[in-house]
C-alpha cells in the first residue's frame, strides 16, 4: 500500500508544480477543472486487475515508473525528422512534439468555417466555446487515466467546424514523442467540435522518435452535431517501450453519423478506449478497429457504447492479429438506457493467433435496460489456414508473401469499412508495410525473435 501512496505523492508533487507554473496563464475555470480531476485521480489511484474494466490489463508497470512532465522548450525538432510520417494532401497537419504544439512544423491553411488551433492558444481567448465542451463528456470518475489527463490538460488540438462545413481532405494530428533521459509522460487533450450538418475526417496519429519508457495518456472529446458526419482515425505507431492510454469520447446528437477507426500497430502496452454516447435519436456509430501485435505487446481495446436515445444503431467490428507473446484484449460493453427503444447494436471481434504463445481475451458485456432492442455479439479465434497458404504457394507465391496476402485479406475486412479517401489510403499503406513484417517473423519463433522479445518489457508481471 505504501507504494500506492508514494505514487500519488509523486503525482501530487508534479501537479502542484504544474499548476504553479501555469498560474496567470491558465484561466481559473481550467485550473478548477484540473483540481477536481486530480482529486478524483487521488481518490481512485491507478486501476488494478481487480477492477472489472481492467481485468485483462495490468498497469502496475505504469504505476511504478516515475514519469516526469517534459521540459519546456527542449531541443527543437527539424522538419526533416518528420519526413517518414508525412501524409500527402492532408488539409491541415498539426504537429505536437512531446505533447506541445509546434507551429513551425505544422501546416495550417485558413479554410472557411474551419477553425483549428492548439488548445493552449485557445485557453488564452475568451472561454465560451471551450468551457461549453471541455471536460463535459469525459468520464473522469470511472477512468483514473481520464482524470489524470484532465488534471494535466495543457495542450492538444482544438478543431471547430461551423454548421454545414464539409471538408473532404483529412485533418491530421501528429503526436511525436522524443527520446529522453528520464521517463516522460504526456497528456495530450483534444477537443473536436463538429456543428450541425458538417462533415469531416480527423486522423490522430501517435509516433516516436527514439526509445525508452514513456507514457502517452491522451484523451479526445468529439462532438458530432445534428446530421454531422465524422470519421475519426486513431493510429498508434509508437515504439515498443511506450505506454499508450488513449480515450476517444464521442458525443452524438440527433441523426449524426460517426465512425471510429482504430489501428494499433505499435506501442508496448496500449489501452484503446472508445466511448460513444448516442445522445440523440437516429444516430449511427461505427466502431471499427484492427490491432496487430507481436513480441511482448499488450493491446487492449475497451469499447463502451452507450445508447441513450431511441432509434440509434451501433456497429462494432474489431479484428486482431497476434503473434509472438502478444496479448490482445477486446472488451465490448454496450449499455442501452431505459428510453433507448429500437436500439440496434452489433458487436463482432475476430482474431487470428499466429503463435502458440499469443493470447486474446474477448469479453462482451451487454447492459440492457430497454425492452425493444436488438443486440448481438460474436467472437472468433482462428489461425492462418494451412490450406489457403499451400494454395497460394502452389501458384508460385513465396511463403512470406503468401502469409502477408492472407493477413491482408483478414485486415481488409477492417479497411473495407473505411470510406474511400486519403485517410483510408494512408491506413492501407501503413497496414501493408506492417503486415509484411509480421509475415516475416512467423511462424516458428527463432532465437533472434525470442531475444528481441526478452529485450522488451514484460507487461505480464504482476506488480
Amino acid at each position: 500500500m505504501t507504494t500506492a501512496i508514494q505514487q500519488i505523492e509523486m503525482y501530487l508533487e508534479q501537479f502542484t508544480e504544474f499548476q504553479r507554473l501555469s498560474e496567470g496563464r491558465a484561466p481559473r475555470w481550467l485550473r478548477k477543472l484540473r483540481e477536481d480531476a486530480f482529486a478524483l485521480f487521488c481518490e481512485r489511484g491507478f486501476p488494478t486487475t481487480h477492477d472489472e474494466d481492467w481485468r485483462f490489463t495490468n498497469v502496475a508497470a505504469i504505476a511504478r515508473t516515475p514519469f516526469a512532465l517534459p521540459l519546456k522548450n527542449a531541443t527543437p525538432l527539424v522538419g526533416s525528422v518528420l519526413q517518414p510520417w508525412l501524409i500527402k494532401d492532408a488539409a491541415i497537419d498539426l504537429v505536437f512534439v512531446d505533447g506541445q504544439f509546434v507551429r513551425e512544423l505544422s501546416v495550417l491553411p485558413s479554410l472557411p468555417g474551419v477553425s483549428v488551433s492548439s488548445l493552449r492558444q485557445e485557453f488564452a481567448k475568451p472561454p465560451e466555446a471551450l468551457q461549453l465542451h471541455l471536460g463535459r463528456y469525459l468520464d473522469t470518475r470511472r477512468d483514473p487515466f481520464c482524470a489524470l489527463n484532465t488534471a494535466f490538460a495543457e495542450d492538444g488540438a482544438y478543431v471547430n467546424f461551423s454548421r454545414g462545413v464539409v471538408l473532404e481532405a483529412p485533418i491530421r494530428l501528429l503526436f511525436v514523442s522524443t527520446a529522453s533521459d528520464v521517463p516522460i509522460m504526456i497528456h495530450p487533450r483534444n477537443l473536436l467540435v463538429f456543428e450541425n450538418e458538417s462533415q469531416a475526417t480527423v486522423i490522430e496519429e501517435y509516433v516516436s522518435l527514439g526509445s525508452g519508457p514513456m507514457l502517452c495518456n491522451n484523451a479526445t472529446e468529439l462532438i458530432a452535431g445534428e446530421n454531422a458526419t465524422v470519421s475519426h482515425y486513431m493510429i498508434e505507431r509508437e515504439q515498443r517501450e511506450a505506454f499508450n492510454i488513449s480515450t476517444l469520447r464521442i458525443q452524438q446528437k440527433r441523426n449524426s453519423n460517426t465512425a471510429s477507426h482504430s489501428l494499433l500497430l505499435g506501442g508496448g502496452l496500449v489501452r484503446n478506449n472508445v466511448h460513444p454516447v448516442l445522445a440523440g435519436e437516429g444516430g449511427e456509430c461505427l466502431i471499427n478497429g484492427l490491432f496487430v501485435g507481436d513480441g511482448q505487446q499488450h493491446l487492449d481495446n475497451y469499447m463502451h457504447v452507450e445508447h441513450a436515445s431511441p432509434h440509434c444503431s451501433s456497429r462494432q467490428f474489431y479484428n486482431g492479429i497476434l503473434d509472438g507473446h502478444a496479448h490482445g484484449v477486446f472488451h465490448g460493453r454496450i449499455v442501452v438506457h431505459k428510453n433507448a427503444q429500437k436500439t440496434d447494436a452489433k458487436q463482432t471481434n475476430r482474431n487470428l493467433l499466429l503463435s502458440d504463445d499469443a493470447q486474446i481475451d474477448t469479453k462482451p458485456q451487454l447492459e440492457i435496460y430497454a425492452d425493444d432492442v436488438k443486440c448481438t455479439h460474436g467472437a472468433t479465434i482462428g489461425q492462418i489456414e494451412e490450406n489457403a497458404l499451400f494454395y497460394l504457394r502452389s501458384r508460385g507465391i513465396d511463403e512470406r508473401s503468401a502469409r502477408k496476402i492472407l493477413l491482408l485479406a483478414f485486415a481488409s475486412e477492417c479497411l473495407g469499412r473505411m470510406k474511400p479517401g486519403l485517410a483510408r489510403t494512408h491506413a492501407e499503406r501503413l497496414i501493408d508495410a506492417h503486415l509484411l513484417n509480421v509475415a516475416a517473423v512467423s511462424p516458428g519463433h527463432d532465437s533472434a525473435d525470442l531475444a528481441q522479445s526478452e529485450r522488451e518489457r514484460n507487461w505480464e508481471e504482476v506488480g
Binding site: 502452389s394 501458384r395 508460385g396 491482408l408 485479406a409 481488409s412 475486412e413
Partner: protein, 272 residues
Amino acid sequence: MEVPEQNKRRKEDQVNLLEIKNLHVTVAGCEILKGIDLEVNAGEVHSIMGPNGSGKSTLAQVLARRETFQVTAGEIVFGGKDLLAMKAEEAACEGVFMAFQYPVEIPGIGNTYFLRSALNAIRKYRGQEEMDAMDFLPMFRERLKLLEMDEKLMNRSVNEGFSGGEKKRNEILQMAVLEPKLAILDETDSGLDIDALRIVAKGVNAMRSSDRAMLVVTHYQRLLNHIVPDFVHVLVDGRIVRSGGPELALELEEKGYGWIEGEARATASVPA
C-alpha cells in the same frame, strides 16, 4: 511390367520432363505410396486412374510439394532438377501446376489480384519483367473467354461463393494464365456436370502442346473421353499395377476396379 509398351509409343526426340523413381510416401506413419516409378515426357498426357484410397491424390500433392506428406524413399527429377528439394512455390516457379480437387476459398483477396501476383512471382523467379495491369488484362481476358468465364467473377474474392463448376474452371483458368510445364489435374472432373466438363476439357485440350506434359488424375473414365491421354496407369494400393494406352481406361470402365485389384492382390501374394 508394361513399360516397354509405354516406350513403344514414344517419339525418339522427346525430352524427359518428369522422372519418378521408387517413390515411397507416408502420411502420419501410414504408407500411402509404396514404390512408384513413372516417366513423363514433354508433350505427353498421362492419366493416373485408380480406386478411392489408392494414393492418386497423394501422388499429385507430393508433386505439388505439399509438406504434410513425408517422402521416405525414392526420388523425383523434374526438368533435370531434384523436385523433392523444392518448396511448393519453387516447384510452381519451375513449372509445376496442380489443379486442386478442392479449390480453396480465400475471402478478401480478389481473383485478378491473386492471379497477377502469382504470374509475377513466377516471372520474377525466371528473371522476366513483371507484368503490369495493362499488359496482363488482354491476355487474361482471352483466357477467360477460353474457359467461358464471366469477368465479373474475377472481381470477387478467390473462389468465394463460386459453384463447384466455377471453382474447377477457375483452376484451369489459372493453369492457362500460368502456363506450366507440368499440369496435374487432381480429380478435376469430380462433381462436374457434362457442360462444365466439356468446358474444362476444352480448356485443357487447348493447353496441350509439345513442350507441356499433363498428369490427369481421375477415378472415372468419363473425363478421358474428352481429354484423351497417351498413357493410362492404374494405381492400386500405392503401386502402379498396370500401364497402357487409352484402351486401358475403357477396359477399366467396363470391368471396374475389382478386376484389376484382384489381379494386383494375386501378384502381391506371390513371393518374390
